[in-house]
Symmetry: C2
Subunit: 229 residues, 2 copies
């Protein structure tokens, strides 16, 4: 079966940049391509949008099919449409991104992918297509998000130490942060609730545990702020 159109049209895909945080690193989810072009090259999970399929659903389906990841909250990032970004033909891609707790999302390769795996951002293979550029755009967006919105709610345990929160920021920003300055600024945001509890099972002096004030957190998500470190 084939499809005939009166006017030529570019092909349309979606691609997903899924960032994963663990205790060590900020990583990105890649698949190893099983078909040409760029066979055996690592790439962002993604594929062709079906007619009649919403683009958000297309991104979720491709992510699921190629990596088995489900229940990931994908946000639209940007569309890339350079005529020669794909050697086959003019393919426009709508990119999405997400940030997840890596430990809760173990990938398993499926359709069109040989492997699926988390890669540390400072040790990436050469990516297929313009996926390196798409990844860089997503990384900038994520850094920007951190500056304007509270982050961490779905990435940290319910109760966490300020050191854990700082490490999360440091991994996303990829720079060391001054501890005193960070604590002062993050407390000023008013999204943290000090609990009565401290860490257990630690060799050093047990640190105070905090949790997010959900109401304040949601209000700031809406209102935004500028968190300069």
């Amino acid at each position: 079966m084939s499809y005939t159109y009166e006017y030529a049209r570019p092909a349309l895909t979606t691609d997903c940049v899924v960032f994963g945080l663990d205790d060590e690193d900020l990583k990105v989810l890649l698949i190893q391509r099983d078909i040409p072009p760029y066979e055996a090259r690592w790439a962002l999970p993604g594929g062709f949008v079906r007619v009649g399929e919403d683009i958000d659903e297309s991104a979720r389906r491709e992510l699921r099919e190629e990596t088995s990841l489900k229940n990931v909250f994908l946000e639209q990032l940007y569309s890339f449409g350079h005529p020669r970004r794909d050697p086959r033909e003019h393919v426009v891609t709508i990119a999405y991104y997400a940030l997840v707790n890596l430990l809760e999302h173990q990938p398993r390769a499926d359709t069109d992918a040989r492997k699926a795996a988390w890669f540390p951002l400072d040790d990436l293979p050469t990516l297929a297509f313009d996926h390196g550029k798409i990844l860089e755009t997503a990384r900038e967006r994520l850094r920007g998000k951190l500056r304007y919105e509270p982050i961490g709610f779905e990435l940290l345990p319910e109760k966490f130490t300020l050191t854990e929160l700082q490490k999360l920021y440091e991994r996303i920003l990829d720079e060391e942060i001054d501890k005193r300055n960070f604590r002062k600024k993050v407390k000023k945001l008013g999204i943290l609730e000090e609990t009565e509890e401290v860490q257990s099972d630690v060799a050093h002096r047990a640190a105070r545990l905090y949790r997010f004030d959900q109401k304040q957190y949601k209000a700031l998500l809406k209102k935004g702020f500028n968190f300069e470190l």
Copy 2:
């Protein structure tokens, strides 16, 4: 001539939300469609992406063809891909937006458009397709931009009064702003240079003229801020 593809693919368009500021209002540029669907309905300027044409160029071309506007700095807004947003078939659109000085951009209808005109945002006709939703998304983005970035450089004369700057913010935000608070906050940003000059030809007491400190302005464009009013 027709084009045959092995797999069915959605059609792809670009649409442009061009906001225009004059002394009175924030307006948006619309065209009256000359062809079905939605013939005679007002809509955002836009049209089909050609194979081999970059999507940014497609947006600029459609804007030029339908309204004669050139040299407009379009930024990508968001892509809309609901399968039933166009009655003809599944059409995905990549939306762009811009903010221009209306007085420097007088539209003239062309290809596929009967008319092209500026409409005040508080007095809009019913728009074709999902263009009302696209416009609303652009409006939110513009408000957000104002909060995080300096704005006004290309919209105000080289030298302007603080009242002119405040009016610009009020028109974009669609709300009145407290004068004293606004002045305090905008001065604190450090992007304004006080000149030695005052207004001429005014009946009331002549107000001081300011200009933007280009270096600071550019630095803040990059760094961002949170301008809460």
